[in-house]
Symmetry: C2
Subunit: 421 residues, 2 copies
């Protein structure tokens, strides 16, 4: 087999924006994307005229289901001033907009375009929670769905397998949750900008005001152990192990490397990209690892020349707390069975040696499915440029960051490495 | 604005296959795609091992809606032996698999891949006709759909505008229908492999057998004028102006130009590609022309160096008979307002100077939405290689053919020019 995993032309990210993530019943997908697009435009140092943009790639999972409209790319092209130029939707479940980013990079590398808008959008809150659960099942109906698995159910099985194999437990997942909640208040775009301690205080106040007895929650884990506030969703996953339903959009501007200086004095480059496919857990020999993630990581490391030790920080697809644990191992940051220990030691905290999900992750930033992948790259771009404000990683010499995005129950995975030279 | 509309590396089509199109309630999307994939493999002169294929791009409009499963690319990657390699779904309504073809070409041109499988699939027949109508509305809900337009309604408005502007009428649309039905019996994959005369004969027999009086249908147009057999759908469009509901899949194998000789002695090359976006008819200054088609055609002609006169034959997106008339003008084959006259003169017949829809078109071959674009390219590839059997264009020196695919009510359009050197 021939293996050329190099791009014919370098690509730089010169702008990025995202809408606030949350529940916005008053906004539609056009409103959300325009919010992200505006921030992206203002982030380009010398500005960008929509007429300079050659094409759009838009990630979206299933606005078909959520909004009764599938064909969103030309609508978004219209509201951003791109018509009649090309607009293409990509779909890979929760990895939809990482695929849009990837296709944008590939198209510039091909020589076809010089300036490409990429991003994603999802509009979920106009459906009931039960309907959203039905909609999310669209990612794995023929296999896991057919035998009654929900998404939390699948990741509950992953957690059970991981616990059994490596002698880990719920306490270890709580470390992931607490860490993400520590980062979220530092991110003005986050859906839940609260630490677990913030939530404990607010709940206590509420109970006091109602004349109820407040439980003795001395530490965060006391709170998370209390099933009255953190009920079970799918054993062993509880409410605070699960990401929320969200609306949101994200956008990045990609340009050919040789043109980056025309847009910004501080470009960030695409160092490596990988994408993998998986069969879902029904055909996985091992529930504690995702084949698609390992393949994507291998491709991205190979293209970039970087290894896991070179990735200074990473956004990791934490649809459930256990997913973050498994993926930091699949990405090679920690050995199999060592991820939960490293997390317990604070390795992935904002001031740890390998910060993970400085944005608050899907858990706290929110997970508007089709917007998530590009929003992870927004975070990496922002951190690399030192513009992450209060959540800026204190390591002063950030050069290399990663973004890992997983679709479905492991069907599609991307890993993208950005670099500031 | 910079305008580099050239690919960094040439791409050849070395194999193509499609399933039979029709209503196949016993087959799912996996079955349909595997049928196309098998024919594609056997069409590659020296064969192809799935392990040689670097990636998959799969076009699908809304199996979300039709099959309650969105995330089909990794499932198709699995059944074709591609996992864990990358698999990406593209969506542009009825142009979904032309976008897959385009992304496959771009990815090879970028240097990232050498051998790419592209294609499309749609599984529509397990829903009722009313549900399918609801599903197709997913392509234009926010605008046309919101004010009550169905798809036939939109194209009925196009026909009304065209008739008024150019003094054409229903009789001219009948010429499109009769021509497509003349080609269809020559295509073993067609859903309706019958001429209008075949249908007249069958209907007459049926009525005679029931003891009913058979109308005096001397010519095809007598039959098409009879609203008992050709009832109105959306004025002025009647049943035989409209394409059917279909199941089907299509697949092509793309390789880097310099590798083509390793796969076949008779490669076909991608000479030009264009893609355009449109706003839908609600914002079109002129209902008798599609902005997205004109833009796509301009890009493809510019990239290829060919003009409309060089395109020896073409598959044109005839979701409705009027669409074929408007598009042969938008593609530059005939001047605005001249298309219906040229068609009346037989210009687009199999033995005419500009054969259009030798496959039978969407009208007779069928229109499994996400499979259509790649199936058009299958037809062009087959004709260029002289392998179209009884429907082979009699012009013995076929070198250049085109495929035009339209999504929604003009939201997405592609035009692709293939060349045999």
């Amino acid at each position: 087999m021939r293996k050329k995993r190099k791009l014919g032309r370098g690509v730089a990210v010169v702008g990025a924006g995202m809408s606030k993530f949350g529940l916005f019943k008053e906004k539609d997908s056009k409103d959300l994307f325009v919010e992200a697009f505006r921030e992206m435009r203002s982030s380009v140092d010398r500005g960008v005229d929509p007429r300079e943009i050659d094409a759009l790639y838009l990630g979206n999972f299933s606005n078909d289901f959520f909004t009764h409209q599938a064909h969103w790319a030309p609508i978004i092209a219209d509201v951003t001033g791109l018509v009649p130029r090309p607009a293409t939707r990509t779909e890979g479940a929760c990895a939809s907009s990482a695929l849009a980013f990837r296709e944008g990079v590939i198209a510039i590398a091909s020589g076809l375009y010089d300036v490409v808008l990429v991003g994603g959008v999802e509009e979920m809150s106009k459906r009931t929670t039960a309907e959203v659960a039905e909609g999310l099942a669209l990612a794995n109906t023929p296999y896991a769905g057919r035998v009654g698995f929900t998404f939390p159910g699948v990741f509950g099985a992953v957690a059970t397998a991981y616990f059994a194999r490596y002698k880990a437990g719920r306490e270890h997942l709580m470390n992931v949750t607490i860490k993400s909640h520590n980062n979220a208040p530092l991110n003005p775009k986050a859906q839940f900008p609260f630490t677990i301690r913030d939530i404990m205080r607010a709940k206590s106040e509420g109970m006091k005001n109602k004349g109820l007895t407040v439980p003795d929650w001395a530490r965060e884990k006391d709170f998370l152990r209390d099933s009255a506030v953190n009920p079970i969703v799918a054993w062993p996953l509880h409410l605070y192990d699960c990401c929320p339903i969200s609306d949101g959009a994200s956008a990045l501007l990609l340009v050919a490397e040789e043109l980056a200086g025309e847009f910004t004095d501080d470009p960030v480059y695409v160092a490596g990209m990988g994408q993998g496919s998986g069969r879902g857990l029904h055909r996985s020999p091992d529930l504690t690892s995702f084949e698609a993630t390992r393949h994507a990581a291998g491709e991205a490391y190979s293209m970039s020349g970087f290894g896991p030790g070179d990735i200074q920080f990473c956004e990791v697809h934490d649809c459930f707390s256990i997913a973050e644990v498994v993926h930091v191992e699949d990405l090679g940051f920690f050995k199999p069975g060592e991820g939960f220990k490293a997390i317990a030691d604070g390795a992935t905290g904002l001031d740890g040696p390998k910060p993970v999900n400085t944005s608050g992750g899907l858990k706290c930033k929110g997970h508007p499915v089709g917007a998530t992948g590009a929003s992870q790259l927004y975070e990496v771009w922002t951190q690399l440029r030192g513009k992450a404000g209060r959540r800026q990683i204190p390591n002063g010499d950030l050069r290399v960051g990663g973004a890992h995005n997983l679709g479905g129950t492991g069907g599609t995975c991307t890993f993208t490495i950005l670099e500031r030279r």
